[in-house]
Amino acid sequence: MLGFILRRAGLVIPTFLGITVLVFALIHMIPGDAVEALSGERGMDPARYARLVHEFGLDRPLYVQYLDYLGQVLRGNLGASISTHEPVLSEFLTLFPATLELSFCAMLLALLVGLPAGILAAVKRNTFLDYTVMGVSLTGFSMPIFWWALLLILLFSVTLGWTPVSGRIDILYDFPPVTGFMLIDSLLSGDAGAFKSALSHLILPTIALGTIPLAVVARMTRSAMLEVLREDYVRTARAKGISRLRVITIHALRNALIPVVTVIGLQVGTLLAGAILTETIFSWPGIGKWLVYAIQRRDYPVVQGGILLSASIIILVNLSVDILYGVINPRIRRST
């Protein structure tokens, strides 16, 4: 098992290098540069422009800029934002808990609803329940996030007034950010109202962001369960006199989870991408909103650093999914 983990972890290095190249190349292919963006509509005189370009090191050959960038990254220095002059890493670390909290809740929703829904649909296949679950999940999967989020806001916030429209918490509440996770921090503050407020702010973004993963998990679980339920070992389990519930939740589900876990890992990418839209619509102060803002300002270090860090998170999540895969599926451990 340890060898398996090490082999998998070794694959992280080339992937990471690949991402740094991509990120670096991508941002330099976009027309315009940071100095132009900084100067705004009034423009600036060529001498000052040249001086600034030189100051930022933008006049050096691309590969020098890249190697310089890589060297800095490996030393943990992602540079400073051109617009705020704050280190990219510290900005990221301040904002990331908000995104993590939202993504975590969205994934939790997807699993808590998607897995049972998929299992039920498979066990009750070709019934009204099955068709309902699959129909609803297809609709959810096809719904563009920005549209779905607006619909949710219109219904629950504007018409019914049940939930707040945007932000993470009411401005009335003020407590020290201990962990950066609003739910935990508000609990730590000991103020029940603060926790309630944080929770109510979280509900709609969670639904908006969690719908697509939920649909994917439900459909994947259903098809994996359907396949597994036909397997010989399920018949063996039933012939042993094990209760139906145990056959489904232990013998069948354990095998069906193997493809589902893979899909869950892939959904983390979808979550971070979806977070950009969700955070923008709900004014959620996370890295999605931060990145959109940085792209608009051509804030190279922020965009580079933000994408690099997001990509690294996805790599790490996929690594843990691979390891988890090995835990669930004993055949993987030795064969690779």
Binding site: A239, I242, S243, R254, N255, N329, P330
Partner: protein, 332 residues
């Protein structure tokens, strides 16, 4: 009271109005400690019969019978909880393909101990000791290590031994072995049969041996039931049936054994295949493939009747074969 009594079992699939009968009008009795062989080509309803006894025929399949009891308990009407308490304990089953019959996600120990835990309970330590003893009884080399193995680390023969260990874990009164040797190497087949017979003798359990291989049945069973297209064609004691088959189908099956074809260039075969849902013939189900078929065979389905020749035997034929191997009272 017989251990197992089945009267007029029907297993149907497909639409209610024109169902496909995988098993049709099947009668079967088994006594305590008896070995009964069920033989027939693929698609003759052997496995479906066994699965219907275990309650493993799922909707939309339908199982009906006038009577289907095990030790006096009604197998058809019993609630699921009661059935589960009986499956794996009083009736156990092993399957054709051992490599896919064990759950790939769990160790041998887990799967063995699960059966024991469900039916008798006990501490983890006791269960593990019992599991180890079971592996020793099925003669698995190095059982201590095998306990922690996953199914993909076992060979086919080893997996089937684990399946057998699991099946005998709770001392069943009836063991159903559905083609237990078919997926195994020839060298392992004989060992597996020997193991099954030995366990049957030691424990006095009844053994239902399902096979398409007549020679397997001949070596092991006391009685044999020959099935074709979901019906019993012939049933009786093994020596009677193998020496003097009364049904043309049994005769043809025997004639296609390599042992009966020594010196020939090609093995004798039975032309055609077992009829499926859409090509079931009228009259006797065998008539398109029977070399003796007469007009009455094409119009009237024969009943399963006890024959005067040997009182223990039953045959479903208008013209049962005589001791000379030729049909009696036959008019073409």
């Amino acid at each position: 009271m017989s251990l197992l009594e089945i009267q007029n079992l029907r297993v149907e699939f497909g639409p209610e109005k024109s169902p496909f009968r995988a098993v049709d009008n099947l009668d079967l009795n088994m006594e305590q400690g008896e070995i009964v062989g069920i033989v027939g080509e693929s698609g003759s309803g052997k496995s479906v019969t066994a699965l219907s006894m275990m309650g493993l025929i799922d909707y939309p399949g339908r199982v009906r019978a006038e009577r289907m009891t095990f030790a006096g308990r009604d197998l058809l009407g019993m609630p699921e909880r009661e059935r589960n308490s009986m499956l794996g304990k009083d009736i156990a089953m092993i399957f054709q393909d051992p490599m896919t019959s064990l759950n790939p996600c769990f160790t041998v120990a887990y799967q063995l101990m699960e059966t024991l835990r469900v039916h008798q309970g006990g501490s983890k330590k006791e269960l593990r000791a019992q599991a180890l003893a079971l592996l020793q009884q099925v003669e698995i080399p190095d059982p201590e290590t095998r306990l922690n193995a996953y199914p993909h680390q076992l060979s086919g023969g080893m997996s089937q031994r684990v399946m057998v260990a699991m099946a005998i874990a709770c001392n069943p009164r009836l063991l159903i072995a559905d083609e237990p040797t078919t997926a195994l190497d020839v060298t392992v087949q004989a060992q597996m049969l020997e193991l099954l017979l030995q366990l049957q003798r030691e424990r006095g359990m009844a053994l239902m041996l399902i096979s398409h291989d007549l020679s397997v049945i001949a070596q092991t069973a006391q009685r044999v039931v020959v099935m074709y297209a979901g019906q019993v064609m012939e049933a009786g004691r093994v020596p009677d049936i193998f020496n003097a088959p009364q049904h043309p189908y049994t005769q043809a099956l025997l004639a296609s054994l390599p042992e009966y074809n020594v010196g020939r260039e090609r093995l004798k075969t039975i032309p055609g295949v077992v009829p499926g849902q859409y090509d079931r013939p009228g009259g006797c189900l065998l008539n398109p493939r029977c070399s003796y078929a007469a007009d009455v065979c094409r119009t009237t389905r024969p009943a399963l009747s006890t024959t005067p020749a040997t009182s223990a035997a039953q045959v479903r034929c208008h013209f049962p074969l005589g001791s000379d191997g030729l049909p009696t009272g036959h008019v073409r």
